[in-house]
């Protein structure tokens, strides 16, 4: 039997609609399920107290601090390095062997499972350099892990800046560095910011890499050399140990809300980026 063009068009639309609805449905279900089970347990006590007896009671305050410290450090280290690399690759080099190798390397790094970064961080930072299981080791490991993403997204944002802007700036007697600083980065900033915010999200939700480097201590960290458990890891441990699931879901709910917030921020930046490039 052959379908008429109109019928096959309707069938195609119906199939695509179903697929889309299924995807969104599953996503929404997961998020709503976790939020429904977790949010009722998210109280001010929960957010502001330290955990007691391995997390059976009490809250997650030290983990919030630990998460912010480890992932904040990761991004604070990787953002300047990544943006500088992207500027160098796009503005100061012509396409050649070396830049191709660097890009290829970055793409490969981006595909490596995070547990391997964790292992490397453990061997290199924690043991080799004697940093131990600490915020420092964890932050440096996360920095390595998100660096390729930051390089690639920054590169894309920088490439999207029209060539004519650079010509104008050179034509006014500005140096390459002035042009990069005042024209290129200024236009690319929202795009670069988006990449950084998404990387922050990835750092926050990372478990494997931080487990092996930042450790799982539950106390409030006093310095960068202290071990600290992140939220995602706390959730993993609670769920694995079968400690009260209510606490696990509550932790997950906090994570999900934080990620939604970050993604909204990234989305807002992206919109500004496109509005500007019109």
């Amino acid at each position: 039997m052959r379908l008429s063009p109109a019928a096959s068009q309707r069938a195609a639309v119906a199939v695509m609609w179903t697929m889309t609805a299924a995807t969104i449905g599953v996503l929404a279900f997961v998020i709503l399920y976790v939020l429904a089970r977790g949010l009722p347990h998210v109280t001010w006590e929960f957010l502001s107290r330290a955990p007691e007896s391995m997390g059976r009671r009490g809250g997650i305050f030290p983990m919030i601090v630990g998460t912010l410290a480890v992932s904040g450090m990761g991004v604070l280290i990787s953002a300047p390095i990544g943006v500088a690399t992207a500027i160098y690759l796009t503005e100061y080099t012509r396409k050649g062997m070396l830049t191709t190798i660097i890009r290829f390397g970055a793409d490969c790094l981006a595909g490596i499972p995070s547990i391997i970064f964790g292992l490397f961080g453990f061997v290199f930072f924690a043991v080799g350099l004697g940093m131990g299981l600490s915020i420092l080791s964890g932050g440096l490991t996360l920095a390595l892990m998100v660096l390729p993403t930051i390089i690639r997204t920054s590169e894309e944002a920088i490439r999207a800046v029209p060539q004519s802007f650079r010509e104008v700036s050179f034509g006014l007697g500005c140096t390459r560095w002035q042009t990069v600083l005042f024209v290129v980065l200024r236009s690319a900033l929202p795009g670069i910011g988006t990449g950084i915010v998404l990387s922050l999200g990835r750092s926050i939700s990372e478990t494997a890499a931080v487990m092996l480097t930042a450790g799982s201590a539950m106390g409030l960290p006093q310095s960068l050399f202290d071990s600290s458990r992140t939220l995602a890891l706390h959730f993993y441990i609670l769920a694995r140990e079968g400690l009260p699931m209510s606490k696990a879901y509550a932790t997950a709910a906090v994570l999900i809300v934080a990620m939604l917030g970050l993604n909204l921020l990234a989305y807002g930046l992206m919109k500004r980026f496109h509005a500007k490039a019109r």
């Binding site: 104008v168 007697g173 500005c174 236009s187």
Partner: protein, 255 residues
């Protein structure tokens, strides 16, 4: 060349290769000061290439190789040790498509001076005002300095780009088909503007439009296949060209 024989820019045996392609061949051209010199010729003959040599914008193209001499006020700008930044402040460029930065009117015009170190807000405001006056935009835009430059009309955008250039006080303005993105009325306005600017600046303009060359320029240079075929006072070129190729081109027999 002109009545008093003064020369602002002179090229001597200027050759340019893009890789293996010989784009400019032994170009000898003289540009008189405070006048409008137009470069005409069929598409692809090297007009833009020649123009971009005059402030070394071709340096940005990796494959371009230049030989010969380009004398600006008697000094060779192709010589080693020429500071590109000071050269380009003296010899600035206006492009074919109006290309303001996606910033406010004020930020566009003040960009050059600010990058060059002028940070005093009051002096910047003065520079912006006189640069906008020079292009006839001040009266329309003086209350709209914070408006986004991309909300202006194409003509205003092109004037703004000229203001942005004038703000760094260049001596020479290079314009590559500055009116090709404008309608005829706006083109007329910009041509008037060019004549005004020629009282203070040396202007070199590339144009496809022979009437435009005839209307605005004091000197015209005709190029064909990378060579400068002939140049001289505009009325001579248009009325009694010496070369057959020039005559064929301006009478519309080719190009």
């Amino acid at each position: 060349m002109t009545d008093n024989g003064q020369v602002k820019i002179r090229t001597e045996r200027l050759n340019l290769h893009y890789g293996a392609f010989h784009a400019l061949k032994d170009v000898d051209m003289a540009v008189p000061p405070r006048m409008i010199t137009s470069i005409i010729g069929p598409s692809g003959c090297g007009k833009s290439t020649l123009l971009r040599c005059l402030n070394r914008m071709n340096d940005l193209i990796g494959t371009a190789r230049v030989t010969g001499r380009i004398l600006l006020d008697g000094k060779d700008i192709l010589a080693g040790g020429t500071a590109m930044t000071s050269l380009r402040r003296r010899v600035g460029m206006v492009f074919q498509r109006p290309n303001p930065f996606p910033l406010s009117v004020f930020d566009n015009v003040s960009y050059g001076p600010r990058v060059h170190g002028e940070l005093d807000r009051r002096r910047l405001a003065g520079i912006v005002e006189s640069a906008l006056r020079a292009t006839g935009l001040w009266e329309t835009l003086k209350d709209r300095l914070n408006e986004h430059a991309l909300s202006l009309s194409p003509e205003q955008q092109q004037r703004l780009c000229i203001s942005r250039l004038v703000a760094v006080e260049p001596e020479v303005l290079l314009m590559d088909e500055p009116c090709s993105a404008l309608d005829p009325i706006a083109t007329g306005h910009v041509e008037d503007l060019m004549k005004n600017l020629a009282q203070n600046y040396t202007i070199v303009i590339v144009t496809h439009n022979m009437q435009q060359a005839a209307r605005v320029s004091d000197v015209t240079a005709f190029m064909y296949l990378g060579r400068l075929i002939e140049s001289g006072p505009t009325k001579d070129i248009f009325v009694k060209p010496k070369e057959k190729q020039t005559e064929d081109y301006i009478t519309g027999r080719f190009g």
